[in-house]
Symmetry: C2
Subunit: 190 residues, 2 copies
């Protein structure tokens, strides 16, 4: 994903504290062509996984999860942070600490859309501490579904998320891997 | 958009009070192939608009807005409901009453991504009372940008949104038009 790495180098901003600002192409303004390329790449990397559903969390996971699902030809489900009035009373719910929000958020899924027959690929914009993705994995387990893989557009290795997720025992793919953001740098693995 | 109308007829649920539940293919679980087809249709209908940016509101507008932007080959911006810590302090903000949430929500955009040179196409999942789309139009005006069109995946005519938006003087396109939900019905215009 050279196009993604080049874009991070060009437009990514190091806000300090490990916060990487990419809101000009991923999570406020979105470059749909780049997101489509990310989705195509995830679909290729997980082609053998047998994934039958893509799972993500609102909000900024939606774009890469949608394009991945499009290229895999499977539905995507996004966990909600608040229960809309259109959702049934019986829900799957877990809590996740949000790094960039500084609070704990709920992640909610209707059991109608995640069940024992589902083979689930989790896609999110960032793999940082791994807490959001671990929460999605808990929802997958609670539904009795099978987790088959985890994909993140950008991984920040120095926040340790990959180690947190390792016990899940599934392949973890990141399209751009940032290894160091100390002293204002943004170092991306070649 | 016969595929969309067929899907609403098959899976849409009338929850009463004008609430149309379509969370099996639009706003919880999403059918990416159908959303891609919706995006292609919007891109065709607004091909002559000169739209250079697609604008939507999180959360459920993101999927159709992203696919529309993909087919137009332009960026998409989604207005946030809360200001993430990665967003600058100077923002464009407006308030919108949320029909399905029963409260007023903030819609926030970084002025970095919406400015006087932008020709803006607003895309959302629903056109109901028109309040969310009108709020996005206010943000467009506040940024000094030019609104060139409005597209909704599903319009509910009986909530009057089209009349609310008419003074904006731009084309309004809906891919499925629901004209009556009284007495448990879901009547879609052919």
């Amino acid at each position: 994903m050279d196009a993604l790495k080049a874009r991070i180098r060009k437009e990514g901003k190091n806000l300090g504290g490990g916060i990487l600002k990419v809101d000009s192409f991923i999570n406020h303004q979105v470059d749909p062509v780049l997101m489509d390329a990310c989705g195509r790449e995830f679909a290729a990397r997980f082609a053998a996984s047998g994934a039958a559903k893509v799972l993500t969390a609102e909000i900024s996971g939606i774009a890469p999860a949608l394009t991945t699902a499009l290229h895999l030809g499977v539905p995507v489900v996004y966990a909600r942070r608040t229960r809309p009035i259109t959702m049934s009373d019986q829900v799957l719910l877990t809590l996740a600490p949000s790094h960039t929000r500084g609070q704990t958020v709920e992640l909610i899924i209707s059991p109608q859309f995640l069940g024992p027959d589902d083979r689930v690929l989790i896609i999110d914009d960032f793999l940082a501490t791994g807490q959001t993705i671990m929460a999605l994995a808990r929802l997958t387990q609670a539904a009795g579904a099978t987790l088959v893989g985890i994909g993140a557009v950008i991984e920040k290795t120095f926040e340790g998320g990959r180690d947190v997720l390792a016990p899940l025992g599934v392949p973890i793919e990141a399209l751009a891997i940032v290894t160091d953001m100390s002293d204002g740098r943004i170092i991306i693995r070649d």
